[in-house]
């Protein structure tokens, strides 16, 4: 069940529909955020990141921005959970929704 990798430049040349299909089949979810009326979902695909922008979440993709710069993760850091650490932390506390 290996996945064939793709470089960021090759990904950027794909159509939006092709990009969405590839992200759905192969990307790793990192996080979701809301900003100025838009939803953003950040995914990692092989050696780069892809950030999806939605006006309507999971309905229609408005744009996809790609980057190899890990600073794209910064707005999502507060919600990234490391399993194990999370398990230790949650003891005695209620889970957030």
């Amino acid at each position: 069940m290996t996945k064939k990798s793709i470089q960021i430049d090759d990904f950027d040349r794909l159509s939006l529909e092709e990009q969405i299909a590839l992200l759905h089949s192969s990307a790793t979810y990192i996080g979701k955020r809301k900003h100025e009326g838009y939803y953003y979902v950040l995914l990692q695909l092989f050696g780069f990141y892809a950030e999806i922008r939605y006006e309507f979440y999971r309905v229609e993709v408005n744009a996809i921005r790609t980057s190899i710069d890990s600073s794209i993760i910064d707005p999502y850091l507060s919600q990234i959970r490391v399993r194990g650490l999370d398990d230790d932390t949650k003891r005695g506390t209620s889970n957030e929704d």
Binding site: H24, A27, R58
Partner: protein, 151 residues
Amino acid sequence: MTRARTKNVVLYADDDADDRELMAEWLQPCRHLIELRLFNSGDALLEHLSELYYQDAEEPSLIVLDQNMPGRTGLQILESLRRDTRWAGLPAVLYTTSTMPHEVIAAERLNAGFITKPLNLTQRDIVLRQMLRFCEPALRERIQGFWSKGS
């Protein structure tokens, strides 16, 4: 004790409120066939299952579990389900943002489906049809019949 199975109760646990709302919206056209019950954690879903059992209520036709939830993951909840003889045979799917092969395999070993959450409406239709494959057969037939009428 043999328990009658309800044809239309679906239980869905997801810590993401947006995803819970979306599922409710997407299943709205089938509301006469499906009663969707939402939970913000897998443990809350398990608790509800126990209540159903003690109330002698009908069993759900599908259990949908998000994988990445605070506390126990969807897979961990699924393991609990399968260890319990009361729930071992219930139809279930892991519904997740993940595409991790090891999670796909783990779900299959637990006799559950693995469905990656859709990124847009086109994928949503595919995903709902994938989910249907794992439903209790009678509900599956009713929904397929409903969809084939083009409603």
